[in-house]
C-alpha cells in the first residue's frame, strides 16, 4: 500500500519530503525513504503521487512491490 524510493537513484534533494501529504518520507544517510505504513499513494489528496511528480530522477519513486496497493486496503 505504498510507494518506495529506489535508493541507488536518490539524489538526496529532499523535494519529495516537502510535498508528501502524509509525512511518510524520512532521511537516512543522505537518502530518503518512504514509510509504507504512512504512505497512501496520495489517494484522497492528489491525482498523482507527489513524490513521483517532483522527483528529479526518472523511475525512482515507484510502487513498493512488497506491500499490497493502498486502494486494495480500503
Amino acid at each position: 500500500m505504498a510507494y518506495m524510493i529506489k535508493e541507488s537513484n536518490c539524489t538526496g534533494c529532499s523535494a519529495c519530503q516537502n510535498e508528501c501529504p502524509n509525512n511518510a518520507i524520512f532521511e537516512k544517510n543522505f537518502a530518503f525513504f518512504i514509510d509504507p505504513a504512512k504512505c497512501t499513494e496520495c489517494i484522497g489528496f492528489f491525482d498523482k503521487p507527489q513524490c513521483a511528480e517532483i522527483c528529479p530522477m526518472p523511475k525512482t519513486c515507484i510502487i513498493n512491490p512488497d506491500v499490497p496497493r493502498f486502494a486494495a486496503a480500503v
Partner: protein, 515 residues
C-alpha cells in the same frame, strides 16, 4: 587561517534592480571618476548612484567589485521544482565545479554559523547568496530561516538569492521584508516552444506539467516575478544559459524583454555540457559556445543594457573571491570547531582599506587613458591577464587557473570575460599539454600579462603569436593594458609589428581541478 592576506578574483553575481521612475540605463550619468565609461563596467560607469551604492561591494553584480570583494553561498536549498536539460543533480564530486552540485547540505543553523566563521576569517566577504543547489524558493522555509538568522548575527552582510522564478511571485513580499536587495532570475527563453527544448517539466500547484505548457507557465511566472521585484526597487539580474542551436539567437529577445521589465544586469553564460556530467544536453553531444560566439552575443546585447561577463558559474556552496574557491577551508566539520570572532569594526576597517585600493586603480586607469586622447585607431585587441585580485597583474603564468580578458582600444580597457585553464604548474607532468590548453583558451589574445613566466612557456606563447608580457608585474591591469596598447599602436606605425585579427578560443568545460 589567513586573514584576508590572500586575494584572488572572486566570482560574483552582480544584480541591480531598476529604480522605478529613473529608467536610467544610458551612458550620461556621472561616474566616480567624472568620466563616462559606458559598458566598461569599471567603477560606477552608467549606473545611477542609488544602484551603485547597492552593487559596488557586490562581486556578482559589479565587475569592478569582484576584484576586491568575496561572496559565499550556503547550500541550504536542495529541492528543485523544475527540470533543466543542462542540469543533473545526481553527480557530485569534490573536484567538480558547476551550479547545481554541492558536497554537503546545511541546516539554516549550520549555515548561519558558517557565515559568521567565514566573515570572521575573510573580512572582504560582503555577500551571502542562496543559490541552491536546488531552487531557494522551492525550499522557502530553510531559505528564509537562514536569511533571518544571518541578518540578526551579521547585519552588514548583503543578502541575495538566485531562483528559477517559478515560485517568485508568491515570495516577493517576503523577500522585500527581509531586505534581500539582490535577486537573480535564470531566464533562458520567453518563447514556450523554445522553452520546451530546455525544460522537460515543471512541478507547479501540486502537479507536473510538461512540454510547451510547462515552459509557458514558467515564463509567465518568471516575467511576473521580475516585474513585481523591480516595482519594489529590488535589484534584479537575469542569468541566461547560451545553448547553441536552441536559444542563442533567441537570447536577444530575452534581453529586450527583461530590460523592459526593469532588470538591471544581464549575465549570459556558456552552456556547460561535458558528457561526464550526465546532463541531457551533455549526453546528446551538444556543445557550448566558443569564446568568440559568447562575446559576440554579449556585445550585441550590450547596447541594450549592462552585461555581466565575470560570472564563474560557481557552485551553490562556493566561498571566496570569484574564481577562487575556499569552501574546503569551511566544511561543516571545520566550521563547527572554529572560534568565531565576528568583529564588525575590524571588517569595516579592512573594507575601508579596500576602498582606498579601488580608488587608486581607477585613478591610475584614468591617468593612462589621457595619453590616448585624440587618437582614433579603429582597432581593438584582446589581452589576457593573470591576476590574484586587487586589480593588479600579480600572478605567475604557471599558477593561473584562469586568465581575465580585456578588450583594449583608444576608448579604454574593458573587461570582457575570463578563460578557465587547468593549472599549468601541476606536478611537473604533461607540461606540453597544459600549455596547449592555455593557448587554446587565449588564442584570440595578442598578449598575456603575467608577473613571471618560465622560458619554456614563453617560447611556446611566442610561437603561437601571443606576446608574454612581464614588464608590468604587480602594476594595475587597466593602466598597463592602455600603456601596452599605446605602444602597440606605435609599433604598428613604425612597421615593427602588423596587426592581424586573431582566431577564436575555447571555453573550458571539464571539472575544475584544485590542488
Amino acid at each position: 587561517m589567513e586573514f584576508g592576506t590572500r586575494k584572488a578574483v572572486a566570482e560574483l553575481y552582480v544584480m541591480q534592480p531598476s529604480v522605478p521612475g529613473s529608467g536610467k540605463m544610458g551612458c550620461a550619468s556621472k561616474s566616480s571618476s567624472g568620466k563616462s565609461s559606458c559598458g566598461s563596467a569599471a567603477g560606477q560607469g552608467d549606473l545611477s548612484s542609488e544602484i551603485w551604492e547597492k552593487v559596488k561591494n557586490h562581486p556578482c553584480y559589479s565587475e569592478e567589485a569582484h576584484h576586491h570583494y568575496a561572496r559565499m553561498h550556503v547550500a541550504v536549498a536542495p529541492a528543485c521544482n523544475i527540470q533543466c536539460n543542462y542540469c543533473n543533480r545526481k553527480y557530485d564530486c569534490s573536484n567538480e565545479s558547476r551550479p547545481g552540485v554541492v558536497s554537503e547540505r546545511l541546516t539554516p543553523e549550520q549555515a548561519a554559523k558558517k557565515v559568521l566563521a567565514v566573515a570572521s576569517n575573510i573580512p572582504q566577504m560582503t555577500v551571502l547568496g542562496i543559490a541552491g543547489p536546488g531552487d531557494p524558493l522551492a525550499n522557502p522555509g530553510k531559505t528564509f530561516k537562514t536569511f533571518e538568522l544571518v541578518t540578526k548575527a551579521a547585519p552588514d552582510i548583503k543578502l541575495c538569492l538566485s531562483t528559477n522564478g517559478l515560485m517568485l511571485p508568491d515570495y516577493v513580499d517576503r523577500i522585500q521584508a527581509l531586505n534581500i536587495d539582490h535577486v537573480t532570475i535564470t531566464i533562458n527563453m520567453i518563447d514556450p516552444e523554445t522553452g520546451a527544448k530546455i525544460y522537460p517539466w515543471i512541478y507547479y500547484n501540486k502537479k507536473r506539467y510538461e512540454g510547451v505548457e510547462a515552459a509557458r507557465i514558467l515564463s509567465e511566472r518568471q516575467l511576473l516575478g521580475l516585474e513585481m521585484l523591480t516595482a519594489r526597487g529590488i535589484l534584479c539580474k537575469v542569468n541566461s544559459v547560451m545553448i547553441p542551436g536552441i536559444n542563442d539567437h533567441h537570447l536577444a529577445d530575452v534581453n529586450r524583454a527583461v530590460k523592459s521589465r526593469g532588470a538591471f544586469l544581464h549575465n549570459i553564460m556558456p552552456l556547460i555540457s561535458a558528457p561526464e556530467h550526465g546532463t541531457v544536453f551533455g549526453l546528446a553531444g551538444m556543445r557550448g559556445p566558443t569564446a568568440q560566439e559568447l562575446k559576440a552575443l554579449q556585445d550585441s546585447c550590450e547596447g541594450e543594457m549592462n552585461m555581466m561577463r565575470h560570472c564563474r558559474q560557481c557552485r551553490a556552496d562556493a566561498v571566496g573571491l570569484l574564481g577562487e574557491d575556499r569552501s574546503n577551508e569551511f566544511t561543516t566539520e571545520k566550521v563547527m570547531e572554529m572560534e568565531v570572532n565576528y568583529d564588525l569594526q575590524l571588517r569595516q576597517a579592512y573594507q575601508d582599506d579596500v576602498e582606498k585600493r579601488r580608488t587608486a586603480v581607477v585613478a591610475a586607469r584614468n591617468e593612462e587613458l589621457k595619453t590616448l586622447v585624440g587618437r582614433d585607431s579603429g582597432i581593438s585587441i584582446l589581452i589576457a591577464v593573470a591576476t590574484k585580485g586587487n586589480g593588479r597583474i600579480n600572478q605567475h603564468f604557471g599558477h593561473a587557473k584562469e586568465f581575465q580578458v580585456y578588450e583594449v582600444s583608444t576608448a579604454g580597457a574593458k573587461f570582457v570575460g575570463h578563460r578557465r585553464v587547468d593549472n599549468y604548474c601541476q606536478g611537473g607532468f604533461g607540461e606540453e599539454e597544459s600549455l596547449e590548453t592555455v593557448l587554446r583558451a587565449i588564442n584570440d589574445c595578442v598578449a598575456v600579462f603575467i608577473s613571471r613566466i618560465g622560458n619554456c612557456p614563453r617560447e611556446g606563447l611566442l610561437r603561437a603569436g601571443i606576446e608574454p608580457v612581464d614588464r608590468f608585474a604587480l602594476e594595475y591591469i587597466e593602466q598597463s593594458a592602455l600603456a601596452y596598447f599605446r605602444e602597440y599602436l606605435e609599433r604598428m606605425q613604425s612597421g615593427e609589428i602588423q596587426h592581424i585579427q586573431r582566431g577564436d578560443a575555447d571555453i573550458r568545460q571539464g571539472a575544475l581541478v584544485t590542488i
